[in-house]
Symmetry: C2
Subunit: 233 residues, 2 copies
DNA sequence: GCAATAATGTACGGAACCGTCCGTAGTCGC
DNA sequence: GCGACTACGGACGGTTCCGTACATTATTGC
């Protein structure tokens, strides 16, 4: 079991990982799989090894917007880490992959026995807060183009290679904007040769150019992750 | 020392509160006081008894937008609770008041000795995540008018009486919009007799009307606070 | 009470984005 | 290989909100 592919598991002490390992189970993470449902008790906590997961805020009117994005750098179940068994958020797979999972009750017991394990998961929660804060700021102040560039960079950080299998519709939900708005913004980025966009696939061509477009929307949460976790995303 | 005025302290067990109490220090919280500076090591963790604090995401371009708001229902230092000594966020007093504070190092030691204290603070962190998520969603999808109504309701929940000493400029920073946009939105709310607005002061007149305007932007995080903390804001 | 400052009211053109719609082009299931 | 479906491209008027500017009205410091 390639636990070290997941950055959070890799940062665990040998002892903590040894305690957790027997309860980790390999699992496929297909596209659109729902890892956590808003308001529902969480069954498992997932550690992606590949693929991309995202956590959305949803409300009673069916509006939705992404608040956090992670892959092999993170884990689901932030509310379990914080001591409860459910949250208002929804977590789904954006780009398919595979990962490891552990039953919630088991993890709760392990965190109680192994405080340093809990402490490490809390550091990831803190990194996630940094990311969520930047999302809130970007949603308030930045253009679709900037936010899209940020999102593509964040995704690019978390997958192998430069290909991101994503539809405009999906990106629109992530950013909380119109699908047509995403189409236009992608065309602009493509016109600047920063990406290539084909049906269901965005290919990153010029990462530095994307950074220039994203400007202050990208970078700070990523640096905070490095500081907190002691290793890059 | 009126510790029970703060909802987090009030939710502590007698034993945990007894351990913490000797290290709590009364402190005035004047308007615009900075409780935490972005990127700087946190000196104290504050428990407001009155007044309103807010936490802002800031970036290198000087852009800023509120991500979280709390008063007697909460505490600063979420990053300390998560195991680090600083964060990218900035926390300032919006409406003056007074509160209690404890040195960071002392609190870190206490949380280590008294796990149930740490666990309770984590539940508040979880409530804050719910609030931040709603903020991110509202920033992406809701009009200034809706977001303003939400903000006024959240503030109203946390002060005594119906008077909120706030300037348009301040509200604009909170919402991440133009000052003139706030002025217009306040006029609309005032035209509907939901508030009265005079220089430096907003008075809530029709709370239910504000709820109707805020729609889905208000309510869910507040219900989650109740669930997590076992008491209303 | 008088200047200086802070807060508010108002306006303007323009940019960004929305809601909506429809046509076209890939892709999939059988 | 053909119909059904999904994804994308492009357009439309309309609204929201921006950046900016400037005047007016409280309040404060002296």
């Amino acid at each position: 079991m390639a636990t070290s592919q997941n950055r959070v598991l890799a940062a665990l002490s040998d002892e903590d990982l040894g305690a957790l390992r027997p309860f980790l189970e390999e699992v496929a993470l297909p596209h659109a799989m729902i890892l956590e449902r808003a308001g529902q008790v969480i069954e498992h906590v997932y550690f992606p090894l590949t693929g991309l997961a995202s956590t959305l805020a949803v409300n009673v009117n069916g509006e939705r917007s992404e608040v956090s994005l992670y892959g092999r750098d993170g884990m689901t179940g932030s509310s379990v880490i914080n001591g409860t068994d459910r949250s208002l958020l929804e977590t789904t797979m954006q780009i398919p992959g595979h990962g490891l999972r552990v039953e919630r009750g088991r993890l709760q017991g392990l965190m109680r026995e192994h405080r340093s394990m809990h402490d490490l998961f809390l550091l990831f929660n803190e990194a996630r807060v940094a990311q969520m804060s930047q999302t809130a700021l970007s949603n308030a102040r930045h253009s679709i183009e900037e936010r899209l560039a940020r999102w593509l960079l964040m995704s690019h950080d978390r997958v192998e290679g430069d290909e991101l299998p994503l539809t405009h519709e999906f990106l629109a939900i992530m950013l909380g904007v119109r699908r047509a708005g995403v189409t236009t913004a992608l065309h602009i980025l493509e016109g600047q040769h920063l990406i290539r966009s084909t049906r269901g696939l965005v290919t990153v061509r010029d990462r530095d150019g994307l950074k220039a477009t994203a400007d202050a929307a990208y970078g700070a949460p990523e640096a905070e992750y490095l500081r907190l976790m002691g290793r890059p995303i």
